[in-house]
């Protein structure tokens, strides 16, 4: 139902529109950063680095608008939750942009070709899932779909598990030939960035749940990133 004051509706719609715009840019930056990595395309990487500024600007704009609405309307209940959600999600998306930018910077640092195409397959696969998670959760936000958000949250362990196996694989290559270390390190950090993008998708899923229900998820989320406990010798 619409507000009695129509300008209030316009303000809230404007805020949601900005989030959708940020979501679109974030998805596209992540996709391009990973493509740039796969092809070691410096030109594309530079474009990602430049475009990330747009996300930073939008995040500031969302923040300013949200503060103005709070000051002007003293929002209550679902409106209040919506505004809190916009603030949180814009933060997450801004961070996703930073992580994409970081991958792009590594493309420039790699400075050459990736010798182990197989490794790139692993990274690309992770990125595919992370992007899908991001897309699904942004749709869940615009449709206020708690069930979809829940699925995103439960699926994050898939990315974590892929990251763990990629981590092991990269370690093996580094031990095989020290000349691989530089490249593998960049790939490892890129993979870590993608894993974090997945975490931000999970954050957004939790925000969607809050918008819809007014409560936080109470059950524990499955976790499959065990690299913090991994030791290098453990493989052979």
């Amino acid at each position: 139902m619409e507000h009695t004051v129509t300008a209030y509706d316009q303000e809230l719609r404007g805020l949601a529109g900005k989030i959708a715009e940020m979501g679109g840019i974030a998805e596209h930056l992540v996709g391009d950063a990973v493509s740039a990595l796969a092809r070691v395309d410096e030109q594309m990487a530079n474009r990602v680095i430049n475009e990330d500024r747009r996300l930073d600007d939008l995040q500031r704009e969302v923040e300013e608008r949200a503060i103005l609405i709070i000051a002007r309307r003293q929002p209550m209940a679902s409106d209040l939750r919506e505004i809190v959600a916009a603030l949180r999600i814009s933060n997450d998306l801004e961070r996703v942009g930073d992580l994409a930018k970081n991958i792009a910077k590594r493309v420039i640092a790699i400075n050459g070709t990736i010798t182990h195409k197989r490794l790139m397959v692993g990274v690309e696969h992770m990125a595919e899932i992370a992007l899908e998670q991001l897309k699904t959760v942004l749709d869940a936000f615009s449709n206020r779909d708690d069930a979809a958000a829940r699925i995103v949250r439960m699926r994050d362990d898939e990315i974590d598990a892929l990251y763990t196996s990629l981590f092991r694989e990269l370690l093996t290559y580094m031990m095989e030939d020290p000349r691989n270390i530089s490249q593998c390190t960049h790939l490892l950090f890129s993979a870590k960035n993608i894993e974090r993008i997945g975490d931000h998708a999970t954050n957004i899923a939790e925000t969607v749940h809050y918008v819809v229900t007014g409560t936080a998820f109470t059950d524990e989320r499955p976790k499959a990133d065990t690299t913090a406990m991994e030791s290098i010798e453990s493989d052979d």
């Binding site: 507000h3 209030y8 679902s78 007014g214």
Partner: protein, 277 residues
Amino acid sequence: MALVAEKTSAHPEPFETVRTPDENPRPVKVVARDVRVIYGSKQALHGVTIDIPERAVTAFIGPSGCGKSTFLRCLNRMNDTIAGARVEGDIRLDGRDIYEPDLDVVELRARVGMVFQKPNPFPKSIYENVAYGPRIHGLARTKAELDEVVNTALHRASLWEEVKDRLAEPGTGLSGGQQQRLCIARAIAVSPDVILMDEPCSALDPIATAKVEELIDELRANYTIVIVTHSMQQAARVSQRTAFFHLGHLVEEGPTDHIFTNPLEKRTQDYITGRFG
């Protein structure tokens, strides 16, 4: 056929109030069960059931004509003064039926004080405004005792510092906000248990409003307060529990924090977010 028609007309749809209890429930001061108010042929209140907790502020919100003031006025039998008004159901203050025939209404209204929308001091001195109640209720035997009661009431109403040097001046000479606090001092001078407030800040400027709100927050340590307000923000700021009325029904009641962040009933949500059609 006839049976169905009779059923629909004689038994209106049962109405279920949505309730969320406090996490740590407070003792109950006033118990209202299925309270109905009929003005002549018009039913203003359709079976309100609610527990009002002790030493806490309960806010009644809802659009004009929803029955919130009508219900408030039942709690000290103010509706008795309206010709043609009939109150049905059960209201108990500390377990005692306040509508039982041999109950002294004057004594009830001393225990359940009331503050109105427009400050209405008597056309008497500031001192007399506060002293009047204790005197007629025999709460002070000597002048010294009466002075003490007036002094305490003015202190509790956070008015003492502003009026201590002009107690003999007329109460009507004070500013609007001071007059309202004088009315609160007058209400608490007779040591009530419950204070009813019917939009106590709607005629005040923001600073006077803030002072009254600050006062309400202090008073709840000693009194049970029920406030009717049109300001949602005020209800959110001053109360611990909120009850939302609509079309003579109590739609939802629960902890204030809950009502204003995550109400369960759609009508509550629509009202507090400013979406009422």
